[in-house]
Symmetry: C2
Subunit: 410 residues, 2 copies
């Protein structure tokens, strides 16, 4: 008998029939004797509808009132799912964020969970009642008003609840049956991973694999919550998903666990920036103030020895803003030329095994060179190597690397 | 400077443009220096959509979960209206039932308000903040769960809030510009009443004039809340509506204030019921147990002197059930025949002036006799006389009575 948190997203509860299907899955787990809490999102499309109403009434609106409106989406789902469970003979009740309560800070529209009071939930779960909890919402610590965690926050709600309940596992039901070595749409030989570490998942999540929200993985790692990614369709219920867990739980570590790519990258190059202390700060300061995240950065000594070329990447949507911010400061920064390119892609190899294996980067460079793919920028961390390449080579590069690291399914 | 509660129903807040219009009206009152609380319903159609979701997921469902789902309709409106007010530069914030809190009993789906905590609201209203309050909802006293007051409960919320706030007036904005002497669709010469007493309004409300919910009028009378019925469209804002108030506030009392009619009536006649003690109880007991409201009752001594004929009316929708309940007990009740007729209409004349004027009923009977309209059943109370007639004479009877009591507009 275990204590489980199960999370179902908007598509899984998108209509009455799907809510009934979710209820059947929850009933199965309850019938096994598990203590179950279910975290749900708003029905698919509902959050967008509510956000749209807010925008229509006032483009600039009070984030506290936005939370009042948008939090209703999850509230509808918890009521309906509780009814569906009761119709199956499962004892269940719904819980809004303020009822539990899930206390958050008062950063309305993007609040962070501070504390979850679980005494009453645990008491009822021990007596066999399923707790049906609204994801994505809480109550502000100091203002006692409804808060929301920001888009995609239901994963975070589920993991935070699992941590607070000291749950044995947090099952995230989604539209894929697990985490793959790479995108199966590009590499048909991609394999589903049985287990992956938090660190690897974090790199995967932030590098473009859209299985779990980054924040939820950070929280899982911090509180050592075992997260299982599973498919929400009935035909997959018997299939194990991918377990995201700590390194200790993984006996056979692969050197490389996955290959990811992100096309949402744009490259900016400043030529002949004067090579003196403080120049990097004077360039990246204005970008940070403009809320632009800079990802990869490379600095080369230029031929004349007195100046330097600086290349960095930003999200495609931030490119125009970044360029105009830097052009406005051209005189201060003293560069000779600015150029940009959004037809680029970042490809990364990820694996905690890299820490103890040499030559991982070399394998990557060789595989890409063999296909005549030029590497424009390189960046590395303890458990990943990323390269920026021309966007047209994306699929070719991902396939080559998947093979080179021995990840292809037999 | 006054303290006002303003209430807007589902049609008045039916879309973004209408919510903006409501905000303009509220802003006008706030600009006059009044302290304002606004009570709103769900956007038109929204409550039906939510109720339908509940019915689809489970025809028989937990009323507590129903309240969780259905209460979201008003929650959306209060957020949007607060945003619209803020966009006009009016300080405003939304309040759900549990935030105020509006404490109710735990009869989920049809809860009754017990108590409203107004200290914080008054504090903020005194500082110029408009309170935007979700109608139709509260929080259960003993279970701390969301409750709803039942359909049409927003009028009741508004009046209860006005009572708790000790407001100078409760303005109910609706789709008519006041209370008329009778239905203007039948009598073009119907006049809008400047004032009407609670007692009269109560008779009007329960007799088919659908301006205010009966429960809200009862509550207004109990707490002496002055209620003004007004049109929500901007072209009517300068037009005074009808004030529902106590008799003391009405200087010139008319003998008859209004004529109402209700087609939702059906007549049942039991012939030759044995005329002995307890027979009425044995007939109406089963109907009460079957949740059937019996309205008018007449008992005549029959020709033989040993038995009696009994006629009564029920709502049309209850007719079949009433007849079959009585047929099932035919042997116990010992009547010779049962007959029914749903082609009947109840017409009533209402006025507190009747108390001090004789001959009011006589005027009615004469006016109907002059048109050859046969009276089937008569019932009276202190401030009304009702007659049951064949449905086809409805309009003729209402017009004749409107003229007979001198109510026609000049």
């Amino acid at each position: 008998m275990a204590r489980l948190v199960m999370k179902f997203g908007g598509t899984s509860v998108g209509d009455i029939e799907r809510i009934r299907t979710v209820a059947r899955r929850v009933a199965e787990e309850a019938a096994e004797g598990h203590q179950v809490a279910v975290v749900v999102s708003a029905m698919a499309g509902e959050t967008n509808r509510l956000v749209d109403l807010c925008r229509q009434i006032a483009p600039m609106h009070d984030a506290r009132e936005y939370d009042v409106v948008v939090s209703t989406g999850e509230q509808v789902t918890i009521g309906l799912l509780s009814m569906a469970l009761q119709a199956l003979g499962v004892e269940a009740r719904s819980w809004t964020g303020w009822q539990i309560p899930v206390r958050t800070d008062v950063a309305h529209g993007r609040a962070r969970i501070q504390d979850i009071d679980t005494a009453e939930l645990i008491h009822r779960m021990e007596q066999g009642q399923v707790a049906v909890v609204a994801g994505f919402q809480g109550i502000g610590e100091t203002d006692n008003r409804i808060t929301t965690l920001g888009r995609g926050g239901s994963d975070t709600s589920a993991v935070a609840l699992a941590a607070a309940l000291d749950a044995d596992r947090c099952d995230i039901y989604t539209d894929v049956d697990g985490v793959y070595t790479t995108d199966p749409r590009i590499v048909p030989k991609a394999r589903k991973l049985a287990r992956i570490t938090y660190e690897e998942m974090l790199e995967m999540a932030s590098l473009g694999a859209k299985v779990l929200q980054t924040r939820s993985v950070e929280m899982a790692m911090k509180h050592a919550v075992r997260v299982s990614v599973r498919h929400s369709w009935p035909q997959y219920w018997a299939v194990p998903g991918t377990l995201v867990c700590s390194e200790d739980e993984i006996v056979e570590k692969e050197v490389v666990s996955g290959i990811t790519y992100s096309r949402d990258e744009a490259k900016v190059t400043l030529s002949r920036v004067s090579d003196k202390p403080g120049v990097a700060a004077s360039i990246f300061g204005p970008l940070a103030e403009g809320n632009i995240n800079v990802d990869m950065i490379v600095q080369n000594v230029s031929e004349d020895g007195h100046s330097t070329d600086l290349t960095f990447t930003v999200a495609t949507g931030d490119l125009d803003k970044a360029v105009s911010l830097l052009e406005a400061r051209r005189d201060d920064l003293g560069y000779s030329d600015i150029s940009s390119d959004s037809n680029v892609c970042k490809v990364s190899v990820i694996g905690v095994g890299m820490r103890s294996h040499a030559g991982v980067a070399q394998t990557m460079f060789k595989a890409l060179a063999n296909r005549n793919i030029n590497i424009q920028v390189i960046s590395t961390s303890e458990i990943k190597v990323s390269v920026l390449i021309a966007e047209e080579y994306t699929e070719l590069a991902v396939r080559a690397l998947h093979t080179a690291y021995g990840l292809d399914a037999a």
